[in-house]
């Protein structure tokens, strides 16, 4: 990535000063995210009364367990390969075939899998849930973590044993035995799908479900156990790839020119916009109880845009969407790795493998969003196929 200027990295946190925003002139756009997966305020019901949940205060009540309705919860679907480490089993599958793979799984049924790249993220979601339950014991507005896997149900008992071993609160799962889980993701109103397989992630994205591919990094730096930190790239993640297209086709100068001309025109939605929105709604629940400073959710924008120029359009767009982001980091083209290492997010979403790899080198858990024009230029990394 070309170093765009010598501007120092600008970090803007908290409330950005009031920006004048022209009325939305988005009109009908080429973006496929317009209106899709809109996280409807009414359904999350922050302004409405929380639905009374009779007799369900504690997590486990008399043989019944507290399960939020999909429309109320923020559903995060994770595949078994990103929640846990299954490299050994993968090898058996690739080298000896599926029958041997299942036999191996059953033989090792009582050996729990080790944590995978999505594990810290899921643990952090549970921490947020614990805090939410303290403040709103009757509410169903929580994270709901669902295990979604292409595995056959033969592996089911080992997965359940592993969930038990790690004391995870995952009560819903879906083992499709080889068929596509997309229908189930939709039925569960999934807000985010994490998988090791880029093809499945792409399929989810085309169906309007926020999704990203995760990889096992060589090292995982320690992350906070008390605060969920989620970092997003801007273009082609929160926003559409429209500006990136200009940059790729016409170069940096044209990009700047275009962004300046269109400063007051909102960017189109990107695939992860809905998820940021969902996080924001949960954040507001903490603010409502006076816990802004102590909020267990923190969001970051980590973009190559510059604060003084191209970044303005990004901020205005977020503002117009009614989305708050806790920290916006405008790198002006500088490498993202070191900044991410400082933030230590539980997950970082980017559309470019170059940045994903850079992040991973420094131990940041990064997830690739295979969306937009950058995918034609992703040459380095081979996407992993299989279960």
């Amino acid at each position: 990535m070309v170093k765009m200027s010598l501007e120092p990295v600008q970090v803007m946190s908290g409330q950005v000063a009031e920006l004048k925003v022209a009325p939305s002139s988005n009109g009908d756009s080429a973006g496929s995210w317009e209106g899709k997966r809109e996280f409807d305020k009414d359904h999350l019901g922050l302004t409405a009364k929380p639905k009374p949940v009779t007799g369900r205060r504690a997590r486990k009540v008399e043989g019944g367990v507290f399960f939020p309705k999909p429309e109320n919860a923020v559903t995060v679907a994770v595949s078994s390969r990103v929640l846990f480490r299954t490299e050994r089993e993968q090898k058996v599958f690739e080298q000896q075939g599926v029958e041997e793979y299942l036999r191996y799984q059953i033989e090792h049924e009582n050996e729990p899998f080790a944590p995978g790249p999505a594990f810290p993220f899921v643990k952090a979601l549970e921490t947020v849930n614990a805090r939410l339950r303290e403040l709103y014991p009757q509410s169903e507005e929580l994270f709901d973590i669902v295990l979604v896997t292409y595995n056959h149900a033969h592996v089911g008992i080992r997965l359940i044993n592993t969930i038990n071993h790690h004391n995870l609160f995952i009560e819903r799962f879906c083992m499709t035995g080889g068929s596509s889980p997309i229908g189930y993701l939709k039925a569960w109103q999934t807000n985010l799908y994490l998988s090791a397989d880029a093809n499945k992630v792409r399929e989810a994205l085309t169906e309007g479900i926020a999704a990203a591919t995760m990889f096992m990094p060589e090292k995982m730096t320690e992350v906070s156990e008390s605060q969920l930190r989620v970092a997003f790239d801007g273009d082609a993640v929160l926003f559409s790839d429209e500006s990136e297209r200009i940059f790729k086709a016409h170069g940096l100068d044209k990009f700047f020119e275009h962004e300046k001309e269109n400063e007051d025109r909102l960017l189109d939605h990107g695939p992860l916009k809905g998820f940021l929105e969902a996080l924001g709604k949960l954040q507001k629940k903490f603010y409502a109880k006076g816990q802004r400073l102590d909020c267990p959710i923190r969001t970051y924008l980590v973009t190559a845009r510059s604060a003084a120029s191209s970044g303005i359009r990004a901020l205005k767009t977020l503002r117009a969407w009614g989305l708050e982001i806790d920290e916006a980091l405008f790198l002006a083209g500088a490498p993202k790795g070191p900044m991410l290492e400082k933030i230590r997010p539980h997950i970082y979403f980017d559309d470019q493998m170059f940045h994903i790899e850079g992040a991973a080198e420094m131990g940041t858990i990064a997830a690739h969003v295979p969306y937009g024009i950058a995918q034609k230029h992703n040459s380095k990394h081979n996407t992993s196929a299989g279960k």
Binding site: A153, H154, M175
Partner: protein, 260 residues
């Protein structure tokens, strides 16, 4: 085929007998005896299911021409009108390419006797009373409706409902636990004749209410019956409707897990 106990498999192979499936003519053909231009009966609710059963038989025989664990389909009718026109029934059966080994014409009183005399393992009907009677006599009886049976897949899809309290919208699969368990074991064995992919039978497990432990228990119960599920869904309170529509089961079984 994933088998945890090869020896038992070999021994039991010698003792395999057919799985007798009795289906009422009203389920096979459009109720009311609707006719097509040739005067033959039009296919009804159980039609795709029978085709799937047949496909399983074909594949079983392909794997092993001497296979004895096959579906044996018999047609039962108490409809006197249809009995008078028995040739029309047999013609219709032949025309639609269905393989029925026996026809049982009986009246309503003898009807249950017929089921028992024919050693029926599974009774399929669209009539709730018949299903109830069947189960009272200890025969695994499944009430078919337009949602469960008429799915377009060629593959026979069996859905086990792991929560004992859960019943299908069509009505319960009624029977003694024993009849359900032995039928399930037979299905499990049939499934075991094929590999993981491209199988003409697929077995799915759904638990609706409980959390992962109840699903784990259900998986273990199935395994003890010799059934290895292909798919498993632990819904834990998520509405079942959309999931069931995706699963497209031909029929549902829940009696294996009941507490009585």
């Amino acid at each position: 085929m994933v088998s945890t106990d090869q020896k038992t498999d070999v021994k039991e192979k010698e003792a395999d007998c057919p799985v007798v499936v009795a289906v009422t003519s009203h389920a096979v053909f459009e109720s009311g005896g609707a006719e097509d231009p040739d005067g033959l009966y039009v296919g009804g609710i159980a039609f795709p299911l029978l085709q799937a059963l047949q496909k399983v038989n074909e594949r079983l025989l392909k794997e092993n021409p001497a296979e004895s664990l096959l579906f044996d389909v018999i047609l039962i009718t108490t409809d006197s009108q249809q009995q008078q026109q028995s040739s029309r029934i047999t013609e219709s059966i032949r025309h639609h390419g269905l393989k029925v080994s026996r026809f049982c014409f009986s009246n309503e009183e003898d009807f249950m006797e017929n089921l028992l005399n024919n050693n029926v393992h599974l009774f399929l009907t669209t009539n709730r009373n018949e299903a109830l009677q069947g189960s009272q006599k200890g025969v695994l009886s499944v009430l078919l409706d337009e949602h469960t049976a008429s799915c377009p897949t060629e593959q026979l899809r069996v859905l086990f409902c792991g929560d004992a309290v859960v019943q299908s919208e069509a009505g319960p699969a009624l029977a003694s636990k024993q009849a359900a368990q032995s039928f399930s074991a037979q299905i499990g064995k049939m499934r075991g004749r094929f590999g993981l992919f491209d199988s003409p039978i697929s077995i799915a497990l759904v638990t609706s209410r409980g959390g992962r432990e109840s699903c784990g228990d259900a998986l273990r119960t199935l395994r003890s019956l010799g059934v290895n599920a292909d798919e498993a869904y632990c819904l834990a309170g998520v509405p079942r409707g959309p999931i069931k529509r995706l699963l497209q089961p031909h029929f549902l079984l829940s009696e294996c897990f009941s507490s009585n």
